[in-house]
Symmetry: C2
Subunit: 240 residues, 2 copies
DNA sequence: TAGTGGTCTAGACCACTAG
DNA sequence: TAGTGGTCTAGACCACTAG
C-alpha cells in the first residue's frame, strides 16, 4: 500500500475524500499548491495524481479557475464482442460459409452503406454458425466491393468483420457500432436457423466505419435466442 | 495541430507509426532516450506521450527491458444503461410501483444474493414501466433487508437500483454487472406485460456488488421485445 | 494584476533486467 | 555492471481567469 508511488497514494486519498463527501460534486477541490503542501510533494506529482482521477472522469480542471469534482459517474458498461470467436459451453461454433455474392445494393443497403450509385457493387457474405449439428447464428454482411478484394470462398470463410475490410481501413482506425434488438423471426430466418415460426431471434446489427465515419461494412447476426447472452460490467476504476 | 502540447503530438506520431506498421506488434519500440533525441524533448515529455498510448492499451512497458507494441486492441464495446431513465421515442416511461414486499428469500434468491440464512429477510420491489397505456418493461428487484431501509412505497417509487442500495454502499463503490438474454415469456410475464403467449421478452439481469464483490442487490428487467434496443460503440482512442 | 492549472526541462535516484 | 523505464523535484514559462 504505502510502497506504491506517491502520486498513486495521493490519487487514492483524494478519491476517498470524494467518496466520503468531504469534496462534494461540482465543488472546487483544494488548489494544486495546497495539495503540494498537504502531501509534501512537488506540483508535478500532484498533477500526476489529478490526471489519474481526471482519466476516471471523477474530476475536471479549468485552467485559471481550479479543479472540480464531477457528478456521480455515468452508467457506462463494457462488454467484449467477437463475432466468430464466441463460445458456447466452452466450445467454439462451427462456421459454414453459405455464399459470397457480388450484388447490386438494395435500397436498404444503399442507405446503410451510404452508397449513391445503384450500379455499384457490393459483396454479400453469408455464414451460418453451428453448435455441432444445430444452426445457432446466421451472419450476413455487406461490404462495398473494391478491386483486389478477397472474394474467393476459401479465403473468406473464417474472416471476421474487421479483417474483411482491412484492405480499405487500418485495423486501428475502424470504428464499430453494434445495436442489439429482438424480433420474431420471419420465414426466411426460421428456415435458415431451423426454428419454429414465431420463435424469437436476437439481432446484432454491426456497422463498420472508417476514420471519417463513412460506412465500410454493414451486417446482421441473427441469434437463435437460446444462444444469445451478453455480459457487461460497469466501468469504474482505472485500478486505484 | 502543431499548437497542441508536444506530448500529444509525439503520442499521435508514435501511434501513426504503429498504424503504418513501422512499429510492429510485440516489437520493442525505440527507447525513451532515443525518442528524446528524435523529438528533441526531455524524458518526462516522452514518458507523458507513452503514458497516453499505454492508457489506450496500444503499448506496454517493462522496466529494465523497454516498451513494446501490443496486439490489435480487444473488441471492447461500451454502452450506456440507466434503468428508469430510458427513453422511448424521446419520451420517458411512466413508472408504476406494483408493490414492495418483505419476503423470505427463495432458494434462487439465496444463491443470487449469497444469503445463507433462509429466515433472513429480503425486500422485493416490483415495478412496471409504461409507454403511455401500454406495459413495456417489468422490473423486479431483490435487496437484502437492512434496518432503516426505505420500504414505504411513496419513498421507493422512482429509485433506481444504485439509489436503493446507497445506504449500504457508496454510489462510487458499487460494481454492477448486467446480463442480456432473450426468452419466450411465461404465463406470469405475459399477463403482466399483456403480451400474447410465446411472445419473446428480452431479459436484463442486474447484479449490484459492493467493493468486496458481495451481492447487495439482484433483479431482472423483462422487456416487451419491441421496447428493447441497445447501442454500443467500440472503445478506441482517448481523443488523440 | 495576481492567481490558476498545463506543460516542459535538467537532473536525480530507484528497482528491475540481462549479460 | 550498464542500461532500462518509473518516479520525483525545483524551477521555469505559458494561456487562461477574474477582479
Amino acid at each position: 500500500m504505502t510502497d506504491k508511488p506517491m502520486y498513486i497514494n495521493i490519487a487514492t486519498d483524494i478519491k476517498n475524500n470524494i467518496k466520503l463527501g468531504k469534496y462534494k460534486s461540482n465543488a472546487l477541490l483544494p488548489l494544486v499548491h495546497e495539495f503540494c503542501t498537504k502531501y509534501g510533494v512537488s506540483r508535478v506529482t500532484v498533477q500526476n495524481a489529478l490526471s489519474l482521477l481526471a482519466a476516471e472522469n471523477l474530476i475536471y480542471s479549468i485552467p485559471g479557475k481550479g479543479t472540480f469534482v464531477n457528478e456521480v459517474p455515468a452508467n457506462e458498461f463494457v462488454f467484449n464482442f467477437e463475432e466468430l470467436r464466441e463460445f458456447n459451453n466452452g466450445e467454439s461454433y462451427i462456421v459454414k460459409l453459405l455464399g459470397v455474392d457480388i450484388i447490386n445494393p438494395s435500397p436498404e443497403i444503399m442507405i446503410k452503406l451510404r452508397i449513391e450509385d445503384e450500379s455499384s457493387r457490393v459483396v454479400n457474405v453469408k455464414r451460418l454458425l453451428f453448435d455441432k449439428e444445430k444452426p445457432a447464428i446466421y451472419d450476413t454482411k455487406f461490404i462495398p466491393y473494391y478491386s483486389g478484394m478477397p472474394v474467393i470462398e476459401a479465403e473468406i470463410g473464417y474472416f471476421v468483420f474487421p479483417e474483411l475490410v482491412s484492405n480499405v481501413v487500418s485495423l486501428y482506425e475502424i470504428n464499430r457500432q453494434i445495436t442489439v434488438s429482438a424480433l420474431l423471426a420471419n420465414t426466411e430466418i426460421c428456415s435458415i436457423l431451423k426454428i419454429a415460426q414465431n420463435e424469437p431471434v436476437v439481432i446484432v446489427e454491426q456497422k463498420m466505419l472508417n476514420e471519417d465515419n463513412i460506412p465500410v461494412g454493414w451486417g446482421k447476426l441473427y441469434y437463435n435466442y437460446q444462444y444469445f447472452s451478453f455480459n457487461a460490467k460497469k466501468i469504474n476504476d482505472q485500478g486505484l
